[in-house]
């Protein structure tokens, strides 16, 4: 019995689940202190998501960019780099997608592919710039990526303010052409035939017309699997993990460390850019908006990656959890008046306990030792 618990405690997944449980306990305490019943609040968070298909879809829509920025951060972590530039890379991806998608008019599927690729490369180069500065001049990526975040934000706002790009008297740029939208049944739902059908099927109508339901989440999951494959099955993944774990040994073994750093930041940037591009093609207004602050997905990505212990597949689940918590948090604020900041406390506690997961290893060892003593 003891040994089984000890073994279980040593598994990464168990550690993360434990951390999540502790996060929920901390959240309950915070709610109780603030004078709200934790039971009611949690059940409301939970039921609000499952109360309507619309809400479930809303959570999934929120999940897509979080998975991709999470992958972006997790990927960079594997090379020993801390990519705080998800925000900026997301914005650059969005800018590239709108600039290309607002002009280009290719056949439907190809159109999307071209837009997404251009956005990936643009944001990738933006990330690679930080990688290059690190490799060439040793400037820390945390500093450069934070600065690049703000450069991207103001570039976005500048572009929206330009007459040829911004729409007069609004805070929007021109939108991506409808042929490049990634919404589910995009063409059909606005066609006369589709409109007639939907008017007699209200349930389907609320989903298709009432939400921005789009294919982004599927693409994000596929990308997560691809990133996992790239990291663990390919020579490139081998190379960058070697650099991440021991730069000096990798260098001595003939691996090009600097190139590897630049390439990693390129891919990390591209992943965040992909989030921005798919957000533009998938959700209203399909256009750039003047930003007062960072969109937040890049920072969400840090949380997602930390909670997932940098596992690409894990990012799918932690992004879902984060998005559900954020959505649920807003509903308790709306309905109970309970502070939605409780969610931030929970997330903070979860990240904290994932970070100190070695504590669980210690407990596991203690159980084992006790067993040995009894046996001996």
């Amino acid at each position: 019995m003891g040994s089984k618990i000890a073994e279980l405690l040593n598994k990464t997944a168990t550690k993360i689940i434990l951390a999540i449980v502790l996060g929920f306990i901390a959240g309950a305490l915070a709610l109780a202190v603030a004078g709200y019943d934790p039971g009611t609040s949690y059940s409301m968070m939970f039921t609000s998501i499952f109360s309507s298909p619309q809400n479930m879809i809303q959570v999934l829509i929120l999940t897509m960019p979080n998975i991709l920025t999470g992958l972006s951060v997790a990927f960079a972590f594997k090379t020993g780099l801390f990519n705080i530039g998800g925000e900026g890379q997301y914005i650059v991806g969005a800018i590239a997608a709108v600039m290309v998608g607002g002009v280009l008019n290719l056949p439907p599927v190809i159109n999307v592919i071209v837009i997404v690729l251009v956005a990936f490369v643009a944001a990738g180069l933006y990330g690679a710039l930080a990688g290059f500065l690190k490799a060439k001049f040793g400037i820390h990526e945390v500093i450069t990526t934070i600065m690049l975040n703000w450069i991207a934000l103001y570039l976005n706002n500048y572009l929206v303010s330009l007459p040829g790009i911004g729409v007069k008297n609004t805070e929007y740029s021109f939108p991506i052409k409808q042929s490049a939208w990634t919404n589910v049944l995009n063409g059909w739902k606005t066609s006369p035939h589709g409109q007639a059908y939907l008017s007699t099927h209200p349930a389907l109508s609320t989903i298709l017309l009432g939400t921005d339901i789009n294919y982004g989440i599927i693409i994000a999951i596929v990308v997560a699997i691809a990133v996992s494959f790239l990291l663990y099955r390919t020579t490139f993944g081998y190379q960058i993990r070697a650099v991440g774990l021991n730069k000096d040994a990798a260098e001595a073994a003939g691996i090009r460390v600097k190139k590897s750093i630049v390439m990693t930041m390129f891919i990390a940037g591209g992943l965040s850019g992909l989030a921005g591009a798919l957000q533009m093609t998938g959700t209203l207004p399909h256009a750039l908006v003047t930003l007062a602050n960072q969109p937040g997905y890049g920072f969400n990505g840090i949380t997602v990656a930390l909670m997932a212990n940098s596992s690409p597949i894990g990012c799918i689940f932690t992004a879902l959890l984060l998005s559900a918590l954020q959505f649920g948090g807003s509903t308790i604020q709306m309905n109970l008046g309970a502070p939605s900041e409780v969610v931030n406390i929970m997330i903070g506690v979860i990240v904290f306990f994932v970070a100190v997961a070695s504590m669980f290893t210690m407990i596991s060892e203690r159980i084992k030792r006790r067993r040995v003593k009894i046996a001996g």
Partner: protein, 512 residues
């Protein structure tokens, strides 16, 4: 009771488990007050674990510890420090950009008026201590500017400054030059004359003979024996440590070297501070020959190795293999041209500790068609190759292919590196301190692997600070001093004393 008073430390039937592994199995240790007591054992035998138990870093699962006859429960290092036990670890714990005095007083600062640091008082105490025990150091030098031997003295002074009576030295000679070792032995004598008790953890037989009065041998966590050092030979100590007869000198036949394969011409290399470390150095290695470079640490070895492996730029000169120039290209190019390297620091340059053993075995070859196609790793081929290497080089445990390299003992980690570097039959193997920190059994294995490589018609450039190793393994010996080759001998032409003198910068006289 009376007889117990004579023992500074008594450890009785100590048990210590890590998971299911029994690291210490009923180990006893009795250390006489005022003596130098060696603790001998192979890597992983449990020497350091035993001392960590004594110092309170680990808690024993059972057993008793007596300090000066009084039973003590070593809950944590603070208890050990209260009982005036001090430990100098193998890896020093010093603040690089603090001065010697600042480091020594760190954590036990003296102050004026309650809060103003009184460095001059601490300095006076340090100077006094170093005079008393012959521990000469410059109290105002920064740690980053002084040699490893000096840093060790600072560590010892740090312990003395805290009033230590029982001093544990963990592998104190691993990083020292022959001269520094002699000086350390003298310091240890001074300390015991001053009434201190010293326990030294080591696996170097020569130094035990040189320094210690008593020696306790541990093998695989078990207590073997405690002997009076003057009554045993090195060979006997080695057998007790390993548990079988060992060859302290490897068997090798005479070689008939072929043409010159590798050559260095007028090589000059600067270090990061633009100081010339290698100065117009020339040497050549012929096919089927082991050339050994003898020298004291800091005479340009590190820069020479980094220049050959293209980890640093050379200022002037040529490095070539089979007529192909290599200087200032890339590590990748050097490997491609048939030179592989065993680096001095296996944790830094040699291994990715958090990679499995099998991935470490292909670190230089992961891109080759046998391990990868279309940029995708062939896991099965990699695993099979790892299994082969593990059995061929006797890497233990034998099912370690998927274990992290970190989990292996030092000797087995080194075998992983050797297996990798020899896997492609390199034209030239550059071996820099290949047996650093290893025990007798592992050294024997690695030396015979080197000689086997030579016998198969390849070349080796061996750079080592262990004069014994150079003398035993090399066919030709070059002496490096201050960045230059100052002398060259065939094996057998010269003895240790002659080379030792040249290593220290002495003039070459007739007759040696």
């Amino acid at each position: 009771m009376q007889s117990q008073q004579a023992y500074a430390v008594e450890m009785q039937s100590i048990y210590k488990y890590f998971d299911d592994f029994c690291a210490l199995n009923a180990v006893n240790l009795k250390v006489k007050k005022g003596s130098i007591h060696a603790l001998l054992g192979e890597n992983g035998a449990g020497k350091t674990t035993l001392m960590n138990v004594l110092y309170g870093l680990y808690k024993a699962d059972s057993g008793r510890i007596l300090i000066n006859g009084e039973q003590v429960e070593m809950k944590n290092p603070n208890v050990a420090i209260e009982h005036k036990i001090g430990m100098v670890h193998q890896h020093f714990k010093l603040v690089e950009n603090f001065t010697v005095v600042q480091n020594i007083m760190l954590g036990k600062e003296v102050s004026k008026a309650g809060f103003v640091l009184d460095i001059s008082r601490a300095r006076k105490q340090v100077v006094e201590l170093s005079k008393t025990y012959g521990l000469t150091v410059d109290p105002d030098a920064k740690i980053e500017d002084i040699s490893v031997g000096m840093q060790q003295r600072v560590e010892i002074l740090k312990a003395l400054y805290r009033g230590v009576e029982i001093l544990i030295l963990d592998e104190p000679t691993a990083v020292l030059t022959p001269q520094e070792i002699n000086e350390l032995v003298n310091i240890m004598r001074n300390l015991t004359e001053g009434g201190k008790t010293i326990i030294i953890i080591t696996h170097k037989l020569k130094e035990i003979k040189k320094s210690s009065e008593y020696c306790t041998i541990i093998r695989r966590g078990k207590y073997i024996d405690t002997v009076d050092v003057k009554n045993v030979t090195e060979q006997q100590l080695a057998s007790m440590m390993v548990g079988r007869e060992v060859n302290l000198v490897v068997a090798k036949t005479k070689t008939n070297p072929g043409d010159v394969v590798f050559r260095i011409d007028n090589l000059t290399v600067e270090d990061s501070r633009k100081i010339e470390r290698v100065k117009e150095l020339s040497l050549s290695v012929r096919k089927g020959e082991i050339v050994g470079i003898a020298g004291i640490d800091g005479n340009g070895q590190k820069e020479l190795v980094e220049a050959i492996t293209c980890l640093t730029k050379v200022k002037a000169g040529r490095i070539s293999i089979n007529g192909v120039d290599l200087q200032n290209t890339s590590p990748h190019n050097v490997i491609k041209n048939g030179i592989t390297t065993i680096h001095e620091d296996r944790h830094k340059r040699g291994l990715v500790l958090d990679f499995p053993v099998k991935y470490n075995l292909i670190l230089e070859n992961y891109n080759r068609p046998r391990f990868a196609g279309h940029a995708i790793l062939h896991e099965q081929a990699i695993h099979k190759f790892a299994q082969d290497s593990i059995s061929r080089y006797d890497i233990r445990p034998e099912n370690c292919a998927s274990e992290l390299a970190r989990a292996l003992s030092g000797g087995n980690q080194q075998k992983v590196i050797i297996a990798r570097e020899l896997s492609d039959n390199p034209e030239l193997l550059l071996a820099f301190q290949p047996t650093r920190g290893l025990d007798v059994g592992a050294i024997e294995f690695i030396h015979s692997a080197l000689i086997k490589h030579r016998d198969s018609g390849h070349s080796i450039l061996l750079i080592s600070f262990e004069l014994d190793e150079i003398m035993n393994v090399s066919d030709r010996i070059c002496v490096l001093y201050d960045g230059r080759i100052v002398a060259e001998f065939q094996q057998g032409e010269v003895d240790e004393n002659g080379i030792g003198l040249l290593m220290a910068g002495g003039e070459r006289k007739n007759g040696i």
